[in-house]
C-alpha cells in the first residue's frame, strides 16, 4: 500500500503519522511538502495533525489553499483515499471535501485526554477492522474540534451512516459528559458520501503499540490495509 503524508508549515503530527503508516503498512510513506505541486501515485494521502500556519487564521484555512492541496482534491475526486486527522480534518472541511466546520471547543480551552469512541459505521475503508458499535479509547488533543453543520447536512450525515466515530461514555452512550468539545451529535469523525475520505479529531496514530497506553488506534490502519490491498 503506497501512502503519502502532506507536511504543512507547523504540521506536528506528521512524524507520528509517518511512523504509524510505516509500522502498519511496512512501507515508508512519501513525505510531501506543502509547496510541492506533484504527489506521486499513491493509494492513500494523509493530512496530519498540528497547527498548519500556526492556525492564526481559521484552523486549516491557509493549508486548504496551499499549492499541494489542489493535488489532494484531484486525488480525492479520482476516488483516492484521503484521511485527515485533527488539523487534517479541519483542512478537509476548509477545502469542502467534507461538510461542516470545526469550531472552537465549547470550553474555549485546548483539550487533551483519552476519549471513548463508538464505531458507528464499520463499512468503510477506515473502520472495517472494528466491529459495529465497538468502543475504542483514543486520545484527542485540539482547541477547535467542535463539529458543526447545518440541519440538513447533519440529517444527511446521520441518515446515510456517515458518522464513523462518536464520542461516548464507557457504556456506549453518546452523553453530554462524554463529549469533549461540544460537537453536534457527539460527532468525532465523518466520511464523505463516496466513502473514500474520512476526517476525525481523535488521534489513532498515537495508540498503535501497547507501550503507548493501548493499541486501539491500530484498527484504523488495519482497516485501510484491508480495503486497499
Amino acid at each position: 500500500m503506497k501512502t503519502a503524508v502532506i507536511v504543512f508549515p507547523a504540521s506536528n503530527c506528521d512524524r507520528d503519522m509517518i511512523v504509524a503508516l510505516e509500522k502498519t503498512t511496512g512501507q515508508k510513506p512519501h513525505i510531501i511538502w506543502h509547496q510541492d505541486e506533484e504527489i506521486p501515485p499513491v493509494d492513500l494521502i494523509a493530512l496530519p495533525g498540528g497547527f498548519s500556519f500556526g492556525d492564526y487564521l481559521r484552523c486549516g484555512a491557509m493549508a486548504a489553499r496551499s499549492p499541494v492541496t489542489k493535488q489532494v482534491i484531484e486525488h480525492a475526486k479520482r476516488g483516492g483515499n484521503v484521511i485527515g486527522i485533527c488539523n487534517g480534518f479541519q483542512v478537509l472541511t476548509e477545502t469542502g471535501l467534507l461538510p461542516g466546520a470545526l469550531m472552537r471547543n465549547k470550553s474555549l480551552k485546548f483539550v487533551c485526554k483519552d476519549v471513548n469512541l463508538r464505531v458507528d459505521n464499520n463499512d468503510t475503508p477506515f473502520t472495517n477492522a472494528y466491529s459495529e458499535g465497538q468502543i475504542i479509547t483514543v486520545p484527542v488533543a485540539h482547541h477547535d474540534g467542535n463539529y458543526f453543520a447545518d440541519e440538513d447536512t447533519l440529517k444527511a450525515l446521520e441518515d446515510e451512516g456517515r458518522v464513523a466515530f462518536r464520542y461516548v461514555d464507557t457504556t456506549g452512550e453518546a452523553t453530554k459528559a462524554a463529549n469533549p468539545n461540544g460537537s453536534q451529535n457527539n460527532i468525532a469523525g465523518i466520511i464523505n458520501r463516496r466513502k473514500n475520505i474520512i476526517g476525525l479529531m481523535p488521534h489513532p496514530e498515537r495508540l498503535i503499540e501497547d507501550i503507548q497506553g493501548g493499541s486501539d488506534g491500530l484498527g484504523f490502519f488495519k482497516s485501510m490495509i484491508n480495503a486497499i490491498n
Binding site: 508549515p9 506536528n12 503530527c13 492556525d55 480551552k109
Partner: protein, 760 residues
C-alpha cells in the same frame, strides 16, 4: 552580501553622530550619559567605574545599554555565582555541565539528552499568557540551539493563595500560555507541579523545563571561531518588544509593575516551530561553526557570549538586522528581546546554501557581520560606529558579589503529640485530597498536548513523566520538585529534600537518576536573610547531589522575587532526569490488579512539622521540616529501583506531600481498585502516622507470589519495610476508619480546581 566592516575603524563617539527618525529620542545614541541615566540602567557606581575602565572613555548610550544588561543580575549571576560554583557538576555521564546553553548527558549509543529549566516569573505576573508562552519558547531554544530535537516540556508553577484576587487570572493565563506555545510547536508537555501559597501572591513563579535528544557527534556550542566567518541572523524580525526584560527581571516588583507591561515579549510558536525545523536541518549539514539563541538581552548577550567564548571580535552592521518596526535605534536593536531569533556563525562561502534552507521555511536570513580579530563587539549603524566594546572584559569582569548573609534560624521540632487528632479521620483524608495543593491537576494537564510525538509512555499524574527515546527501547524519566515550605523553615534541609525528592520520583517509576537542572527562585539578595536562604539551600542541594551521585548540569537563578519588600518562599525548583535502558520495565502508581500485596518501604515517624496536614487541617505553618537522611534515601531507593527492574513490582509510589494515606489514596484512585490497609502505628498517633511527611519512603504494590521474597530481601539488606495490606474491591479501607469508595475519593479529588476556575 556581506557588509564591508573595516575592523580598524576608530570609534568616534561624539554625541552628534546619530541623527535619525527614531520615534523615541530618549534612545538615540547621542544622549548625554548622566548619572541619572546610569542609575536608570541599574549600574552601581562601582560597576559604572569598571565600565569606564574597560572602555577607557564614556560609553555611548548603546554601550551603556549593553553593559547594563550584561551585568544585570539576570545575565551575570553576580550575587549567586560565588555559591553556584560549589555545586557538584561532574560525573562520567556528564558531557557538558553548566556554562553552555543547557546541560548535556550521555545516554549511550552516541545519544545525549540536553536539558535545562528556566524562570519566566516577572513577565508571567505582568502578562500571564505571553509571559508563560515565551518562557516555553525560550527554554526550547536553549535546547535546540545545541543540536537537540526537543522531546518533552515540563514546568514548575507557583501561584498565590486561591483567595487572592489575581490567582485565578494568573493560573488561567499561565496554563493557557504554556499549552498555547508547546502544543503548537508539537513538543509534548508531560507534567510538572503546581503549588499555591500566599508568599507568591504578588510574585508568581513560572519555571519551564525542556529536554531534547541529540547525537553526541552533533552537539553545537556557542563559541565563535574563524576570523572573517560570516555571522548570520535568522528567525523573526527585531521589534521593540522586551527591551529591558533582563533588567526588569533583576529588580523587585512595586506598585507600578503594571507600567512594565511593554517589556513583556510576545511569542510566536508558529515561527518557533519553523525555526526548530530549519535550524535542525542546517545543523545536519557541516556549515555551522557556532550557534546561539537570542534569549534574555537578545542580540547583546548572544553576540557577547559567542565572541567572548571564542576569544574573537564581532563586527555588525546593524542596518542589516531584519526589523519589524521603523526607525529602530541601535540601542533598541541591541536590547530588544523579540522572540524566535538565532545568531549563527557559518563556515565561509556557505551563505547561499544556508539561506536556501531558511527561505524554504519562510524565515528571515541576514548576514549581519563577520568575525574579527579585534576581540571587540563593533557595531555600525548608518555608516557610523555606535559601539565598540572589548567583549572579553565585558564578559569576564562582570561583577561578582559575596553578599552578606545570615543563617536562617532553625525552627523547633513540632511533636506529633502536640498536634490534635482530627475529629474524623475519614473527613480529614477527603479534606486533604481536595485541598488546592493536593487535588487533581487534570484541569491543567488537559490543556497540554501530553502525547504529541507519540512517545509519551507515562503521562502526567504519576511520580515522573516518561518519554521513550524515539525508535529505541530506551526512555527518559523527568520530574520537577521542590517543597518551598520546607525551604522556608530550614533552607539546608529544604535544599536537600528538593534534590532528593526528584531522585525518589525518578526511582519510583524505575528509572536510574542521572542529573538535575535547577531553577533557583529567591527574593532580594541584597537582604542578608534572603541571601542566607540562598546559601542554605545551595548547601543542602550540594550535599544531596554528592551523596546521590546526581550532578547539576544546567540551571538558572531568579532573584528579586519580591513585591513591596516581601520575599517569596525560597524555591529551588529541581528538574530531575533519569534513564531506562529498557522502557518496558517502567511502573506507574496504579496497582494492576486485585490481590496485590502493599508494602511500605522506609521508616514512618509521623513528622508533621511544616507538613501539608498542618497547613490544611490546622492552618499553621510551623516547625522544622522532615530531615532527609541521604544515606537511607540511597539505600531505600536503590532497593526499590532494583526490585522494579527485576520485574517484581506491579506499582510504586513515593510518599511526599500529605503522607502515607494520601499516597495510598492516589494509588487507589489511579487504579480504580480498592485497598484494605492496616498499618502498625505503634506509639505514634494515627493522624501523624497517616499524614506525616517522613522522607525516603515508598509504597510498593507487588504480585502476591512475589511478596515474601521481596520482604525477605529487604530484611536481608536492612531496608525498613512493613506489609500493610492488599488491593481489591472498590473501597479504600484504612485501619478502623470507615471505608471510602473509590468513586467518592475521585469525585472529591477532582472537583476542586474545575469548580474554583468556574467561579471566576
Amino acid at each position: 552580501m556581506t557588509p564591508d566592516l573595516t575592523p580598524d575603524v576608530t570609534p568616534d563617539l561624539t554625541p552628534d553622530l546619530i541623527q535619525d527618525q527614531a520615534q523615541d529620542p530618549k534612545w538615540n545614541n547621542n544622549v548625554e550619559i548622566t548619572d541619572a541615566l546610569v542609575k536608570e540602567h541599574g549600574l552601581s557606581d562601582d560597576e559604572y567605574s569598571l565600565c569606564l575602565t574597560i572602555l577607557g572613555r564614556t560609553p555611548s548610550l548603546t554601550e551603556l545599554g549593553i553593559f547594563s544588561v550584561m551585568w544585570s543580575e539576570h545575565c551575570s549571576y553576580k550575587s549567586s555565582k560565588l555559591h553556584l560554583k560549589t555545586l557538584p557538576t561532574k560525573a562520567p555521564w556528564v558531557i557538558h555541565g553548566p556554562g553552555e546553553n543547557a546541560g548535556v548527558i550521555d545516554i549511550g549509543d552516541n545519544q545525549a539528552l540536553i536539558f535545562k529549566m528556566e524562570s519566566h516569573n516577572h513577565p508571567s505576573y505582568i502578562e500571564p499568557y505571553q509571559g508563560a508562552a515565551t518562557g516555553v519558547g525560550g527554554i526550547l531554544r536553549d535546547v535546540f540551539t545545541m543540536g537537540a530535537r526537543p522531546i518533552a516540556n515540563m514546568n514548575a508553577l507557583r501561584f498565590g493563595t486561591p483567595d487572592h484576587p489575581k490567582t485565578r487570572h494568573l493560573l488561567s493565563g499561565v496554563v493557557e500560555g504554556i499549552g498555547g506555545y508547546g502544543n503548537c510547536v508539537g513538543v509534548p508537555t508531560v507534567g510538572g507541579e503546581t503549588n499555591f501559597h500566599p508568599s507568591y501572591d504578588g510574585n508568581i513563579l513560572v519555571n519551564a523545563m525542556n529536554v531534547g535528544l541529540a547525537d553526541q557527534d552533533k552537539i553545537f556550542l556557542s563559541a565563535a571561531a574563524g576570523i572573517g566567518n560570516p555571522v548570520i541572523y535568522v528567525g523573526s524580525k527585531t521589534g521593540r518588544d522586551g527591551i529591558h526584560g533582563a533588567t526588569m527581571a533583576s529588580t523587585e516588583f512595586t506598585e507600578d509593575t503594571e507600567e512594565k507591561r511593554p517589556t513583556v515579549q510576545v511569542g510566536d510558536p508558529f515561527t518557533e516551530k519553523l525555526l526548530i525545523e530549519a535550524c535542525l536541518e542546517l545543523m545536519s549539514t557541516d556549515m555551522v561553526v557556532a550557534i546561539q539563541d537570542m534569549g534574555a538581552a537578545g542580540l547583546t548577550s548572544s553576540s557577547v557570549e559567542m565572541a567572548s567564548g571564542g576569544g574573537v571580535g564581532f563586527a555588525f552592521n546593524l542596518d542589516m538586522v531584519p526589523q519589524r518596526e521603523e526607525g529602530m535605534t541601535p540601542y533598541e536593536m541591541m536590547l530588544s528581546e523579540s522572540q524566535e531569533r538565532m545568531l549563527i556563525v557559518l563556515k565561509p562561502g556557505r551563505e547561499a546554501e544556508a539561506k536556501a534552507i531558511f527561505d524554504r521555511w519562510d524565515l528571515d536570513f541576514a548576514v549581519i557581520g563577520k568575525i574579527t580579530d579585534t576581540g571587540n563587539l563593533t557595531l555600525t549603524f548608518k555608516g557610523e560606529v555606535v559601539a565598540d566594546i572589548p567583549t572579553q572584559p565585558l564578559a569576564d569582569n562582570s561583577p561578582e558579589y559575596d553578599r552578606p548573609w545570615v543563617k536562617t534560624e532553625p525552627k523547633a521540632e513540632l511533636k506529633a503529640a502536640d498536634i490534635a487528632a482530627p475529629s474524623d479521620m475519614k473527613q480529614a483524608l477527603l479534606q486533604m485530597i481536595s485541598s488546592p495543593n493536593l487535588c487533581s491537576r487534570d484541569w491543567i494537564w488537559q490543556q497540554y498536548d501530553t502525547q504529541v510525538m507519540a512517545d509519551t509512555i507515562q503521562k502526567p499524574g504519576g511520580d515522573a513523566a516518561v518519554v521513550r527515546i524515539h525508535g529505541t527501547d530506551k526512555a527518559v524519566a523527568i520530574t520537577t520538585d521542590c517543597t518551598p515550605r520546607y525551604c522556608y523553615a530550614d533552607p539546608y534541609e529544604g535544599g536537600k529534600q528538593a534534590v532528593a525528592e526528584t531522585w525518589r520520583n525518578l526511582t519510583a517509576v524505575g528509572a536510574t537518576p542521572l542529573a538535575i537542572t535547577d531553577c533557583l527562585n529567591f527574593g532580594n539578595p541584597e537582604r542578608p536573610e534572603i541571601m542566607g536562604q540562598f546559601v542554605g539551600c545551595i548547601e543542602g542541594m550540594k550535599e544531596a547531589c554528592e551523596i546521590l551521585d546526581y550532578p547539576v548540569v544546567s540551571g538558572n537563578v531568579s532573584l528579586y522575587n519580591e513585591t513591596n519588600g516581601t520575599g517569596i518562599h525560597p524555591t529551588p525548583a529541581i528538574g530531575g532526569v533519569g534513564l531506562f535502558n529498557d522502557a518496558s520495565k517502567m511502573v506507574t502508581i496504579a496497582p494492576k490488579t486485585e490481590g496485590e500485596v502493599l508494602i511500605l518501604i522506609g521508616e514512618t515517624r509521623g513528622h508533621l512539622g511544616a507538613s501539608l496536614y498542618l497547613d490544611v487541617m490546622e492552618g499553621r505553618e510551623e516547625g522544622s521540616p522532615p530531615p532527609v537522611d541521604l544515606a537511607l534515601e540511597k539505600k531505600n531507593g536503590d532497593f526499590v529501583r532494583r526490585q522494579i527492574n527485576d520485574g517484581n513490582i506491579s506499582a510504586c509510589h513515593d510518599i511526599s506531600d500529605g503522607g502515607l494515606f494520601v499516597a495510598l489514596a492516589e494509588m487507589a484512585m489511579a487504579a480504580k481498585i480498592g485497598m484494605d490497609i492496616t498499618v502498625d502505628n505503634g506509639n505514634t498517633p494515627l493522624h501523624a502516622y497517616a499524614f506525616g511527611e517522613d522522607q525516603g519512603r515508598y509504597i510498593l504494590s507487588v504480585p502476591a507470589d512475589k511478596a515474601e521474597e521481596i520482604l525477605a530481601t529487604a530484611q536481608k539488606l536492612g531496608v525498613n519495610m512493613q506489609e500493610i495490606g492488599k488491593t481489591g474491591g472498590d473501597e479504600l479501607t484504612l485501619n478502623d476508619i470507615s471505608p471510602l469508595s473509590i468513586s467518592e475519593l475521585l469525585d472529591t479529588h477532582e472537583k476542586w480546581m474545575p469548580s474554583y476556575m468556574k467561579m471566576g
